[in-house]
């Protein structure tokens, strides 16, 4: 198997949680024993058929997997080039890919005897997924969400509260995802004995980046067999594309294709108002440099003194100054390409998908669609692009309306 080859891209991280220079375990001593315990539990669960049997059952009957791989015919026609498939993660229960990972972590938390779950959330999709699974299993759930995001993602805040979660608006910093993660870590260090921190992306201290990737890689695994089984295709995609904040939906799609050299892998970062010296963006790879934050080394938006900068994105889910360490490594070694698109380009792509396919995408995957809009017309008609449609856009309609100059009563 490809995984066994010494030159495989799929063997990381090493025993210290490193992907090249990235990753690691940069946490306070209070958390270290817990992280080591989590790693041991995860290593055990990973090879336990019972664990995966439970996951498969829940993925199928609770989440609704497999999510369809859908040929976007009118979008393909409109762009007039490559053939575009959408991996419909937005059809999952709770409306995004986030629940794939949450189920895995909550099952682990139950195995570890933890009774209280905490999570950080940006757009609210991870918070909603966590609140949902906690409700299902009768676990106490506390979600940290930046005050700015509480305001711009009000429907998700209400959803979480309906599901029985406590939502704590975080006012430190600029009140976005980074600050929510700080407060979640502060909660964890305080309540370390009964609390499990359910991280929503492929970042944080080892083993989180690898664990979240493994739970999300169901996306790429399904894509692979769906395309192989599809009448008239029966092959690998030529390009896979996903949007990146922390990078969990992207890692989930990319990972099973890392060793297929013919597959071009493209991650799309949030370019905000444009990737330049003003730093009004969240493109950590294209506009940042390596640093250490939230338990791992990775590319970060930071000033010349190593202070972390607040990025900007129209999308709350991408508004994070870092990126998962495995993406940082894939960028360093050149296995994946990372590009950025601006808020305006994402808004255009958002409307394009509504109009051509009758699908309202979240602002996060709208970034991936914006890049597809750029490259598809330049590619031949037999070139297959798979885009991860990681979430649905209901939560974003107020933000989009505001940008389009439409007044709506919330």
């Amino acid at each position: 198997m490809a995984e066994d080859l010494p030159n495989s891209f799929m063997t990381g991280p090493d025993e210290n949680g490193r992907f090249g220079i990235h990753g690691g375990r940069f946490v306070s001593e209070t958390l270290m024993p817990l992280i080591l315990e989590l790693e041991a539990q995860y290593e055990h669960a990973k090879t336990d058929p019972e664990f995966w049997a439970e996951m498969d059952y829940l993925w199928k009957y609770y989440v609704g997997r497999p999510s369809p791989l859908y040929f976007a015919e009118r979008l393909t026609e409109e762009l007039g080039g490559a053939k575009i498939y959408l991996k419909r993660e937005e059809l999952n229960h709770t409306g995004a890919h986030k629940i794939n990972n949450v189920l895995g972590q909550i099952l682990l938390a139950r195995r570890m005897g933890k009774t209280r779950i905490i999570a950080e959330t940006g757009a609210g999709q991870h918070g909603v997924a966590t609140a949902t699974v906690c409700a299902k299993f009768g676990l106490k759930c506390v979600v940290y969400m930046g005050a700015t995001d509480v305001e711009r993602q009000a429907p998700n805040v209400f959803r979480m509260r309906l599901l029985g979660a406590e939502v704590h608006p975080v006012t430190s910093g600029r009140g976005t995802l980074k600050d929510a993660m700080n407060d979640a870590l502060r909660d964890w260090v305080t309540n370390v004995r009964d609390t499990f921190y359910c991280i929503g992306t492929v970042a944080g201290p080892h083993p989180y980046p690898a664990m979240v990737r493994d739970f999300q890689s169901i996306i790429g695994k399904e894509t692979r067999w769906q395309l192989e089984e599809l009448e008239g295709e029966g092959r690998l995609p030529d390009t896979v594309i996903a949007a990146i904040g922390g990078g969990s939906n992207a890692m989930g799609l990319f990972y099973p294709f890392l060793d297929d050299k013919s597959v071009r892998i493209i991650g799309v970062e949030a370019g905000g108002h444009g990737v330049d010296d003003r730093m009004e963006h969240c493109a950590s790879l294209t506009g940042g440099r390596p640093g250490v934050l939230h338990g791992n080394r990775t590319y970060l938006l930071q000033d010349e003194d190593g202070q972390i900068l607040e990025g900007h994105s129209i999308s709350a889910g991408l508004d994070y100054p870092g990126i998962g360490p495995e993406h940082a490594w894939l960028h360093d070694i050149g296995r994946a390409d990372y590009v950025s698109v601006t808020d305006m380009e994402a808004l255009d792509a958002f409307q394009m998908l509504c109009r051509t396919e009758g699908i309202i995408p979240a602002l996060e995957p709208s970034h991936a669609l914006a890049h597809v809009k750029k490259i598809a017309p330049t590619l031949p008609k037999d070139h297959i692009i798979v885009v991860n449609l990681s979430g649905r856009g209901d939560k974003d309609i107020f933000t989009v309306a505001r940008h389009l100059g439409v007044e709506m009563q919330g």
């Binding site: 375990r25 001593e29 209070t30 502060r186 260090v189 930071q302 190593g306």
Partner: protein
Amino acid sequence: MTRIDARFAALKAEGKKAFVAYIMAGDPDIETSLAVMKGMPAAGVDVIELGMPFTDPMADGPTIQLAGQRALDGGQTLQKTLDMVAEFRKTDDVTPIVMMGYYNPIYNRGSEKFVADALKAGVDGLIVVDLPPEEDAELCIPAKNAGLNFIRLATPTTDDKRLPKVLQNTSGFVYYVSVTGITGSQAAQAGDVGPEVARIKASTDLPVVVGFGISTPEAARTIAGVADGCVVGSAIVKLVGEGKSPAEVLARVAELAAGAHSA
């Protein structure tokens, strides 16, 4: 022997407990924080912990978060913090200084360069919250090789199995975190702390100093009584945040120091 080693040896000879005080460098400006720092030895401070401000202080409560924010808003940088130490050393060559903070600003400067610059400025030790023993190669080993003490935090979750790993490359003293939590959190309980300190002391000859959740002279006395000393941070930083003058801040520092020294 660093100034830290010398200070603890002297305290031991006198039969006194150590009083360690924290202040955030550059809060709210260099003049104020340097004035407090310079007045600390006369107020009874045995070891000064100088906070390096960071935008994302994940182990700190609101008091120290805000102090770091004030310092950064005032234009504080790592270089300016090192310059403060050099300035302090012009008039005091004996009081140990430990720089405390988070790794990213140090990594950004380069660990080797930072260690050399810190030594040159007159720093004696480092406490870097987000560098556990698993990441010793990053900074701990270069610091140790250059002659800086790397002071490790031991916590209530550091069990007997893990303790040797935590102590392995630690020097100067061991900083026992009295509670699972962030700085400025609930009060430390001597009944809980005493046995933990004894457990650590059974495995090391280094002094064990207790911090987190100590905010009054009485608490300083009680906690120092079951250890080799205690650390007060948030309770001092809070006064700076309230706009108290260096003299007012130092008056309280003297009361806290007297508490620890009466143990």
